[in-house]
Symmetry: C2
Subunit: 204 residues, 2 copies
């Protein structure tokens, strides 16, 4: 609802191969939603732009951010740190923007701990079998990597109950509609509309 | 999600003149949602059909239902009892149907007490001023009745924070879309998808 001053914080997680990227690209085309930009210590690639794809940090800078509690969440993958800058997200939310973090399960749980009102959405395929088929279908991972991703997916599912919503990615269109419905209904939550109640009461 | 065995219970309330009837008629045309049928002691009118518009009961029958705890909620208006038969609603939900109750605030709070997972939606106009304009516009109430309805609306708003969602009825189309979004997102709630989680875990 337009009466809200601050935006909402959404978190999207799901196993590799669940289709998060495709779904987010579609969703961002129609929803006034901002995808958060992560900080990382990995080397910029030619196509990378500072502050667009990532905030690039040295290891020392990143570790100082960790120490100063400047990250909502962080994790290390393949020897590089990745994390969500707290102030950046808070600034966007205070500016009335709804922000989406696309992060893995451990990070999502860290966010929920520090921002209990964050809305956690887990995107998943109907079955592990289907996930395997998708990973094999995209042909970018070795059989060993696929096995690793599948066992990781099985681990992640253990944490699903900490999520607010579970969306089965059967078709991209349906999934995008479901995510829109979640965003729309979260805006209609009574807890996010105290100002409307107060405004109405003010008239009495 | 189709994997759910039981349906969900929704409750729609809102001041007289908020547009509940119009919105529900539209919503029921596209959503596989059942509007619950109330029991009442009021006399059937020529257009009434037993078990369609209402379940018609004698005062003795109704008071026996109250005593036997057979009603989710009940209230008296203009000397007649109105209430929601518990077993009827439970049967429909167990049959996998999503059920909507269109009841006033006191009844909604009674339902929430006995069924905490019920989803309470409050439909309201943007302002009391607008509500007055709507009530005057439909021209079915006397000025005294309008004042009575407005002061009642002011009372009802006190209970809004017990509701899960607040929907401002700015336009019928937008409101119907918001209600659809609420229904869709409630089905995606993790708590309503334990079977999906268990199914996925069963594969591991």
């Amino acid at each position: 609802m337009s009466n809200n001053k601050s935006g909402l914080l959404f978190v999207l997680s799901g196993p590799s191969g669940a289709g998060k990227g495709t779904v987010m690209t579609k969703l961002l085309k129609t929803e006034p939603l901002e995808l958060s930009i992560s900080a990382t210590t990995r080397q910029p690639r030619p196509e990378d732009e500072e502050g667009v794809s990532y905030f690039f940090k040295s290891r020392e800078e990143f570790e100082r951010m960790i120490e100063n509690n400047e990250l909502f969440e962080y994790a290390m993958f393949s020897g590089n740190y990745y994390g969500t800058p707290r102030q950046y997200v808070i600034d966007r939310i205070n500016a009335g923007k709804d922000v989406m973090l696309e992060i893995e399960v451990q990070g999502a749980l860290q966010v929920k701990t520090s921002v209990p009102e964050a809305v956690l959405i887990f995107l998943m395929p109907k079955t592990l079998k289907e996930l395997r088929a998708r990973l094999e279908g995209r042909g970018t991972e070795s059989p060993e990597q696929i096995e690793k991703r599948l066992s990781r997916a099985a681990e992640e599912v253990e944490y699903i109950s900490a999520y607010d919503y579970i969306v089965i990615n059967d078709s991209v269109e349906d999934t995008v509609e479901k995510l829109k419905a979640i965003i729309s209904s979260e805006k209609a939550k009574a807890i996010n509309n105290r100002n409307i109640i107060n405004k109405f009461k003010g008239e009495i």
